[in-house]
Every structure is written in structure tokens, then in C-alpha cells.
Point group: C2
Amino acid sequence: MAGTTQPSQATKDEVELRELIARWSKAVRDEDLTAIRADHDPKILMFDVPPPFLSRGIDAYMATWQTFFASSAKPVVFDFEDVEITAGDDVAFATAVGHCINIERNGEKTNLKFRLTMGFRKHDGRWRIVHEHHSLPAID
Amino acid sequence: MAGTTQPSQATKDEVELRELIARWSKAVRDEDLTAIRADHDPKILMFDVPPPFLSRGIDAYMATWQTFFASSAKPVVFDFEDVEITAGDDVAFATAVGHCINIERNGEKTNLKFRLTMGFRKHDGRWRIVHEHHSLPAID
């Protein structure tokens, strides 16, 4: 239609990446292991909140979710705010602030606010997560 | 010269980003505040090892270095290994493993191994750091 502005490719990429993050975080809330890994590169490099120091490859990445679910309150809380996307043609990254609820060894529930950075690559028109970095500030 | 292969733009970008990280880490070792901030975007978003939870903008970013220098052994150790660059035309990110030496409150020196993610944007042909995420795994 004359006068209609088409969304730019940059806008489309940002929308796709926001949808990807929303799918992934919902998959975590649903404890759906197949959906959690659906948009990941086989060589993903993970820097997670708890040890190990790093996890490389999709199998090591999925093992970090077993650790997470073992100490997460149920139903799982895993929500993000302040999601910011920086997207180029085929490389992008995102930052966000996350929330989850951890069950401590003494049984107490702790609300955790954590930092998230994600790195993406587009292959054959499809964005994939190649890097995740989740962290808390160190205890002072 | 016929037959000479020119480096691709992707290779040039990776070389530029490795040089940028090397300049920045040398500036930290030299405690050169002007050089530390030379390649940063004014709106940099920093997720650092110690609190605060996040720092936004170059002034808040530079304040994190005062915190670092106050508890760093001298001369400053600030080295990286396993630097991996993922570069597109105008967006890139890098991951690495860093080393520094912290002086604890009791005066003991502790070797710290930390995770680094950096996010970059290219403006007017020049790469700038728009995001840094430094962290340790949480204490178990």
C-alpha cells in the first residue's frame, strides 16, 4: 500500500531476537529441555552463575540447566527486564536483567536478580545463540 | 601482486578487535585512565565483578576502575587468554578468560580467574566497546 513503511531488516532482526529470548525463557519456566536448546549453536560457550567456570558445547550447556532446576523454586521463575538488543546483519548481542528464585540448602527461598549477556550468529537466515553469560556481582 | 590474497574485511575486523582488547588491557596494567576509556561508547553498560549490579555510562564505568585499582596488587596484573571474536560488519562480541590479583582485606593476595564478554559496535569505521560483562562463578 502506498505510504506504508516496511519494517527495516534491523527492526526485523531485533524482533526475531526478542522473540527468541522470550521462547527460551518460557522454555526454562516450562522445564522443557527440548525447547531450551532449540535455538542454540552446538558449540555454545556458557558462563553460568554457579560453577563450573565455563561450559562448552550443547551437552555441557544442558547440564547447567539440571543444576539450575535442582535448586529452583517450583513453578520456575525465570523472567527478564531491560532487554537491549544490538543487532548487525549476522552478528548480534543482547543484555538483560533476570529474576529467578533459588532454594538455599537450609530450605529458604532467595529472590535472585542476575545479569545476562547473550551472543548470536545468523546462519541460513536463522539466529542462533552461540554464547551466554549469566552472573551475580561477587559478594563484597 | 598477482596471486596475493588480501585479508578479508572479516579478518581485518577480528585483528582490529584483538588489538583493541590488547590496548585496553595494557591500559589497565599501566593504570592509564585516559587509555582505558579511549575505545568506549559514552553509553557503555558494565556488568562488573564487584557491586554495583550494573554501571551505565562512561563516568560510572570509569568509577569501576577506581574500585579495581584500590584492591589490585601492584604492578597490576590484567591478562587474557582464549580470546574469541565473533565479528559481523558493524556488530561484534568477544569472550575471554582473564587473570588479576586481588588483595583481600586481611592483606593476602588472591589470584583471580574471571570470565569476560565484550560487545562492540562500529561507527564511522571505528570499533567501540558498548558493553562489558566481567564475572566470577558464584560461591557454591
